[in-house]
Amino acid sequence: MLEIKNLHARTLDIEILRGINLQVAAGEVHAIMGPNGSGKSTLAHVIAGRDDYEVTQGEILYCGQDLLGMEIETRAAEGIFLAYQYPVEIPGVSNKEFLRIAMNSIRKHHGQPSIKRTEFVSLLKENLSRLGMDKSMMDRSVNEGFSGGEKKRNEILQMAMLQPKLAVLDETDSGLDIDALKIVADGVNALRSPERATIVVTHYQRLLDYIVPDKVHVLAGGKIVRSGDKSLALELEDKGYGFLQELALS
């Protein structure tokens, strides 16, 4: 589903990604771990299309198509979803209208009619109760004044409503209490299917107890320095990243 080949990306000042290679097949869950500042979020944003980063080398294929040539909104409409490490506040736009606009934009892209109001309301209700979110949050501005954990749940709500093909969760577990962690994991697992894939960026092995990954990668210094199965996460928890950083420099 996703093929990243020798990806280099930079901001004006610094090169952040220095040759990433990654393949994620449909039906798989991959975890990406790695020290602070190693480029995990940058990778996630390059996949989503943020134009703060310039891709200087390499390519990304998504379902066989050249992803880097697509507009941000086209990527989303084609099924890519990024759950932000730092969700953005949008004063003056209610959560509910945000969701409806997003859903209808995507439907429009696929030549489908707008979602019926009743259908939207019942879908929203169902997902809210599954995520343990209060309905009153839907009338509030997007993420405005939300607690850290509420913002993260809100990301998962959006994911549940939009049903992406490829979800990238950037530290969705940070800032969540234990109960919320399980709820979020349930949300991700509910989307698990042979047609979908998920990349979870996390610092903690704990999340991976709930969302069991097919592969674990370690990103350090802008490269994937180690890949393995879920036992790699346990090893990292045990030893820390120290020994890996040397690998990155070599």
């Binding site: 736009v93 606009i101 997003a102 934009s105 995507i106």
Partner: protein
Amino acid sequence: MIATENETYQEQHATFQLQFSPAWLVELRQRGFDAFTRLGIPTKTLEDWRFTNIAPLVRRPYALASLAHSDDETTNDEIKALVQQATLDEEFHRLVFINGRYSDEWSLMHDLSVGVVIDNLGNAICDHPSDVQTLLASDHKLDDSTFAALNTAFINDGAFIDIPDGVVLDRPVHLVFLSIGSNHTVSHPRNLIRVGKHSKAHVIESYLGHGDAYFTNAITQVTLEESAELDHHKLQHEQVGALHIALTGVDQRTSSRFRSHYFSFGASLARNELNCVLDGEQIETTLNGLYMPKGDQLMDCRTRIDHAKPHCKSYELYKGILDDRAKGVFNGKIFVHQDAQKTDAKQSNQALLLSDDAVVNTKPQLEIYADDVRCTHGATIGALDEDALYYLRSRGVPAELARKILIFAFANDVVQGVELPAVRRHLESVLLSGHELSEDILSRRT
């Protein structure tokens, strides 16, 4: 002042004064014209006109529409289209003025309760001369304004709304001012509104046009008696190319409530002055405004609130959204006079710049002569939030729509201040410019 435009106006005035009118009116107009001659066209050297270069537009040779022969080729279909465009709700009383003159044909009056007068000024001058004189004479700081003087020099028509004590007007009154025709026409509508004790009304003024480089120079004088309430809306949709100058003066007595909703979209140069005198206690005044110049438009919004007596509240929120090479000016004066203890005055103005070439000049001006008051003001200028734009797009929303949504969100609190659903819907559709996804945004209140 340059001779030519003075001569044009002079000639027009002389001809105009030949029409049959009561002596007091002829005299009032003459005083207006004398003041106009004395004050002259303002130049940028005057503090109040520093950012607004009016001279080139005022100097165009305008024809006084009320003098022009009716050889105008504007068809009924064109007028009909404009009236339809302006119409907010067929249930509203509607007074239509074409080039400054009342048009019975296009107006629509429903039944009125006893004592309520909603008429055109031309009629009212004959039918209620003493009321007209009283309202014209109320002090709205017109004396030192060139354009107010010019309006007075040409008083002829406009709306006359007189609501007796104890009446809640069941329908809003919609005043529609159309400028049409191929001449450079000028019109000087003069509107008089009085709301009696414990009475309540909603008035909407719409300005639009369909002609060459025309000039609207309007004055609205409002008097609110004790405990009266008025929501005054102004929808400025003049055609680009037009010059729009307007002054609204409001006189408020004890416990009255005035709410102004000003929305400015059109004209090449629009300058709106709103002056409120809070001459009583327990008065509430709310001034909300939204101005959205683009292209080469210039919009100059000026407000003045005079807190003359104790225990009054004023809230002011003005927002500007400026695109392309547009210019905006906001000048908000608040005077708290010595007697006005316990005044509570809040002012906020915010501007959103959508382009690097757009400019806004804002000047809050608080002068406080009482010691026990609460006055605050704040001003912000910013651009569209790039992170929010990216967030919306990364959820599938096309860039253009994402921008509109953020602009709408910025303007929203001013729009939501409007009580009348028909006016709100109109504004929402203007803001979203008929985007088909607008129903997602508008769904919340249906």
